[in-house]
Amino acid sequence: MAEAVAVGADRESLGGRLRDIGFWADWAAVIGLVALVIVFGLASPSFLTLGNIQAMLVSAAILIVLAVGQTFVIATSGIDLSIASIMTFGAVVLGLLYAAGWPILLACLVGVVAAGLAGVINGTLVAKGRIPDFVVTLGMFSAASGAALILSDGKPTQVVDGFLLALASGSVGPFGYFIVVAAVVVVVAHVALFHTRFGVHVLATGGNAEGARAMGIRTGRVRLAVYLISGVLAGVGAILLVSRVGAAEPAINTTYLLNAIAAVVLGGVSLQGGRGNILGPVVGALLLTALTNGLTLLGISQYYQPLAVGVVVVMAALLMRYQR
């Protein structure tokens, strides 16, 4: 979206643009978010209160971090199905080290490193083993959650710590630390994808791996790197998760996996790779969060919530077909 077509000839009149379905497709997530905000804002007076907006942003933070990681992988035409299990794995490592008396910052760091290592395994198998992304990360999905269960013996570890509690409830001005963390991740990721050589190589690998290789780009390394990024961001997500729920739990929440992919798709990133964009998935994550939040405020049964998410994602995907 941010990198939408930028050709001089595209400057049609406003009316012309509104009639062009491609315009709507490029902006699907933003339009969806605005529409939701208007509908929910009118339907529930609590929706647009400062408190609720803060709560939504906090609850979107983990999803945003995961969606950014997923974006890098999808931009290389891969997919990381293991992102939520790796987060769980990182959380369990963090929790166990904390329980073993490690200082919290070190425990967090090692949790991120553990998640990053899981990502490296993914990347190595994809790049060197030449096994399809789908298969490798499906395996890791199972393996990482298994590792989490084994390490934790299936038991949740309480992590009741002042630092993590402050991370979860503290704020800079009106912005909770969670939002700050997510914002930093987003900015760094955007710069990495659009303002570094690495970012160009990611998009080139996803767009035409053979061509990229012919131009000397080491596509294997690029693939390894995006899985590393995805793993590390899953680790960052793990810190947020543990701080949010006050415990490291071995049970994986698959909603995060599905929503992370959905956010990326909503954000206009093609699953075929080659087209990347950070702000789109962020808007997608906000949209999904606002959707659940709004339905909750309206007291609509949670049975309808997965249905609503499904409808929104498929509608967005349909619209995306007209992307220019």
């Binding site: 208007i38 804002g41 209160t49 609850s59 002042g162 415990a247 909603t255």
Partner: protein, 338 residues
């Protein structure tokens, strides 16, 4: 590039302006006053236990009540999001049944700032975490799962010869409820029965419980009983016992007292179930809210009723369902009747 970028920026700004406009338009109407209403956030509505709990909350309320549930019992953050969402609506009282001891703590700190009472039902909030987050709980009502396991253990120890072999089937590994029930059972049968093995079944799956029970019976031909951590799995295990043609030899006891479980006890498929009353827990939760609103000081902890249902009283239990068929203590109701 520069011109194209500024053109995109303009488009973006236009979008933001629209958003802000919408915000102003709706901010004009003030939120309704919900301070007399109750909001309940429970674990799930995808199984009969929580459905009965939700029903109890709705039936027990005298005014409007909002019941929300997590997507699944792994959806810890989703449940926290829901509590945060209802918290901004300014309800008068909150009933929570947290998925874990700590997952709602951060959202509770939001409510703590409003000074509204929070009634904790069923699964307890971790006290230390609540204290650190500055969250206070007005009262806790729930079943003592260890006690429920003990009741089941006493029953089976009374029916089986000394030293008879039993196997234990728990729910998802690490689940607190499952563990407490199994621990209670083990303590009660210690020295009286022989526990041959314990298995945990992921997601409390009925079909997997069935498979595991078949394997256990094959490995232990002299097995005399199963203790199963919930009725749903208990029904799967009793099916395995029937399939093996061992209905006379192997007794199955489970915990929960859901309607199907009670029927199975009546028909003899289950030897007994230890009934807990999620309906009553929900009902007591709203009573606690009312008592708090009336200015009463609530007891810190209230034990919800537990009853052993065997073939003798299964009919009574079924006709009273989802309410208890025996008398039970309800301190909140006593407060309200004062």
């Amino acid at each position: 590039m520069a011109s194209a970028r500024s053109w995109r920026a303009r488009r973006f700004r236009r979008g933001v302006a629209g958003l802000a406009l919408a915000a102003v338009a709706v901010a004009a109407c003030a939120p309704p006053d919900r301070s007399a209403e109750v909001a309940a956030i429970i674990k799930g509505l995808d199984n009969p236990f929580f459905q009965a709990m939700g029903q109890g909350i709705e039936d027990g309320a005298t005014g409007p009540v909002t019941v929300q549930a997590a997507q699944s019992t792994a959806d810890t953050t989703g449940q926290a999001d829901k509590l945060s969402a209802v918290a901004v609506q300014g309800f008068g009282c909150y009933i929570i049944n947290p998925i874990s001891g700590t997952n709602l703590v951060q959202s509770l700190s939001l409510i703590a700032k409003q000074g509204k009472p929070v009634i904790n039902i069923d699964s307890p909030v971790n006290a230390e975490a609540a204290r650190l987050a500055g969250a206070t709980l007005a009262s806790y009502v729930g079943t003592d799962n260890t006690h429920a396991g003990q009741v089941a253990g006493d029953f089976l120890a009374g029916r089986l010869p000394a030293g008879a072999k039993v196997a234990l089937i728990g729910g998802t590994a690490g689940d607190v409820t499952s563990r407490a029930r199994l621990d209670g059972f083990r303590a009660a049968v210690d020295g009286k029965l022989t526990v041959s093995q314990t298995v945990d079944v992921n997601e409390w799956s009925r079909s997997e419980a069935l498979t595991r029970a078949e394997e256990i019976m094959r490995a232990n031909p002299d097995l005399a009983g199963f203790f199963v951590a919930n009725d749903d799995m208990g029904l799967g295990v009793s099916r395995a016992v029937q399939n093996a043609g061992k209905s006379d030899q192997v007794r199955v006891v489970s915990v929960d007292g859901v309607e199907d479980g009670l029927r199975a006890v009546k028909s003899g498929q289950l030897a007994a179930t230890v009934a807990q009353y999620p309906y009553t827990i929900g009902e007591m939760g709203v009573e606690a809210c009312r008592a708090a609103a009336a200015g009463h000081t609530l007891p810190a902890t209230v034990n919800a009723p537990v009853a052993l249902v065997t073939q003798d009283n299964a009919a009574d239990a079924l006709s009273a369902f989802p309410k208890p068929f025996e008398q039970y203590d309800d301190p909140y109701r006593q407060l309200l009747q004062q």
